[in-house]
């Protein structure tokens, strides 16, 4: 499996809406911050992977190089739904494991502004003035089917994932989903990098505008802008660096990427569970740790319903017990397994390509003991999880350096 790979430096911008900065400004800030944090320069990097969705065909990695250093190294521009950042991170990790580089830079960056709700269904229809029903596309649709034959919009898909869990398991309903949002908004108050840092009561959450039952506005992540970056280094190279660099380095003890295997209903309604379950099993095995060893988890709470089902998918609770887990306070920052102490996507924000590295930044920062007011004391092991519809799931397990 090649040598172990470590995070040497990491940085993220605050997630927000930036009118005065462009995508490359944000990416540069994250990259330069990560390089400085690792005590290295762009000249030490043997590979760059850049994760971005909105300008996926726009050579974003090379545009970044033109600001932070054109050193001629290979650049990979990656796009993999909401697992884009995690995929960029993993691209650098694999390059180091393959022996092609001993150090590399991974960055996820996105500028969304206010995009509205994502992921509308595709349908038939025609652009000219005269309306004549003509079957088009893979379903032979004569008009757009979104809202006519169910929904493929993100809020609907993840709402249905939560409601299916409620159908299959006792003790899960609107209240449990709302409690997830209550927790993440409360956590965000301690995170100065979060897009929103405001606490809400359960009643405020439940009574907010209904987007897609059971998810109200306060149970849906916002769109926004931001970037996060990480410098990765191979074990061998790390041992040639300073004592301080070695002590602050965070070990990547598992790196897993999955897609959704075929299941009976997966082409009717995206299956966000099976690929997450598979990724978790592989990650625990790779790292040689179990869910009970995790001191914190940053998981993909694009909607409150999503977080709840992932408690079960990542084995943070008993099978079927996600409702009990949130009811008992298990995922709160003082609970059994703190989940999304950054505020999660719900409050911290979700600039798509940046998310999969921002959660690595968050966990690494806790493992280093540098998370300030939101520090989880004594954190030694943490897990990050992202899932993008389509689907792609990335799971990483990070461990604090020994000694």
């Amino acid at each position: 499996m090649g040598q172990d790979v470590w995070v040497l430096g990491t940085h993220m911008t605050r997630f927000a809406r930036y009118d005065d900065k462009d995508l490359i400004d944000l990416g540069s800030e994250a990259c330069l911050g990560a390089l400085d944090d690792g005590g290295v320069t762009i000249h030490d990097m043997g590979v760059l992977a850049s994760g971005n969705l909105g300008e996926a065909a726009g050579g974003v990695g090379q545009r970044l190089q033109k600001q932070i250093g054109q050193t001629g190294i290979p650049v990979y521009n990656v796009a993999n739904a909401c697992a884009t950042g995690a995929t960029a991170f993993r691209t650098v990790l694999l390059t180091i494991k393959a022996g092609e580089a001993d150090m590399g830079l991974a960055v996820g960056l996105e500028q969304m502004g206010k995009m509205g709700m994502l992921g509308g269904g595709r349908g038939g229809g025609r652009g000219d003035g005269r309306k004549v029903f003509t079957p088009r596309g893979r379903y032979g649709a004569v008009m757009g089917v979104e809202g006519r034959i169910g929904t493929g919009m993100m809020p609907g898909v993840f709402a249905q994932a939560g409601m299916e869990y409620a159908y299959e398991n006792d003790g899960v309903g609107f209240d449990q989903f709302a409690k997830v949002a209550e927790k993440n908004h409360a956590h965000s108050v301690l995170n100065p990098l979060a897009q929103y840092q405001k606490e809400f009561s359960i009643d405020e959450i439940k009574q907010a505008e209904m987007i897609s039952y059971p998810n109200t506005l306060l149970m849906c992540c916002p769109t926004g802008d931001g970037a996060a970056a990480a410098v990765l280094v191979g074990e061998e190279k790390l041992r040639s660096l300073s004592k301080e660099q070695q002590q602050r380095a965070v070990k990547v003890s598992a790196s897993v990427l999955t897609s959704d295997p075929w299941t009976e209903s997966c082409q009717v309604q995206p299956d966000v569970n099976t690929l997450t379950r598979n990724a978790a099993v592989q990650a625990y095995e790779q790292a040689g740790v179990g869910p009970e060893d995790l001191d914190l988890v940053e998981l993909h709470d694009c909607f409150a319903t999503a977080e709840l089902v992932h408690y079960d998918n990542l084995q943070l609770c008993e099978p079927g017990g996600a409702g009990d887990f949130i009811d008992s306070g298990g995922p709160w920052r003082d609970g059994r397994t703190p989940v999304n102490v950054s505020g999660g996507l719900l409050s911290k924000g979700h600039p798509l390509g940046a998310t999969g590295i921002a959660n690595i930044y968050e966990v690494a920062t806790h493992l280093r003991g540098e998370a300030g007011d939101r520090q989880i004391e004594g954190a030694k092991v943490g897990l990050t999880h992202v899932i993008g519809l389509g689907s792609a799931c990335g799971v990483h397990i990070l461990e604090k350096a020994a000694g």
Binding site: M117, R130, K131, V132, F133, P135, R138, Y139, G140, A141, V142, M143, V145, G147, R148, I149, G150, T151, M153, P155, G156, A159, Q160, A161, M163, E164, A166, Y167, F174, E209, M210, I211, S212, Y213, P214, N215, W262, E264, S265, Q267, V268, Q269
Partner: protein, 129 residues
Amino acid sequence: MGKQIPIVDYLVLDDGDPHLMAHECSECGARYFDRRNACASCGGREFTQRPLPTDGVLRTFTIFGRSDKPFASGVVELSDGTSVKANIVGIDPDPDRIELGMKVDMTTFSAGTDDDGTEAICFGFAPSS
């Protein structure tokens, strides 16, 4: 009555009662509603046409609130085990009325008429009476 056309090609209107038709993999039996290149389950390349039952249970739903007309979307598990995505109709889109696991039946309704007078027919699932 003018001409009718199904909103999607997997809705069959001209062979008995309206029903859905799946492409069924000849190898493994996996069912699909879209045009296929191969089977995503086993890789098989031959498919047969499988008419589906019109009754089932509601496995999950959501109510999309952010439009002029809120609507309920759901996934129905048909009585032969096939999953179908559709709107839940014939009942108020109200979480206090729609129940997970309730029995539903397929129904059809007009989705509009084009400039040639052809009426598009859509399907949905309504609570069993």
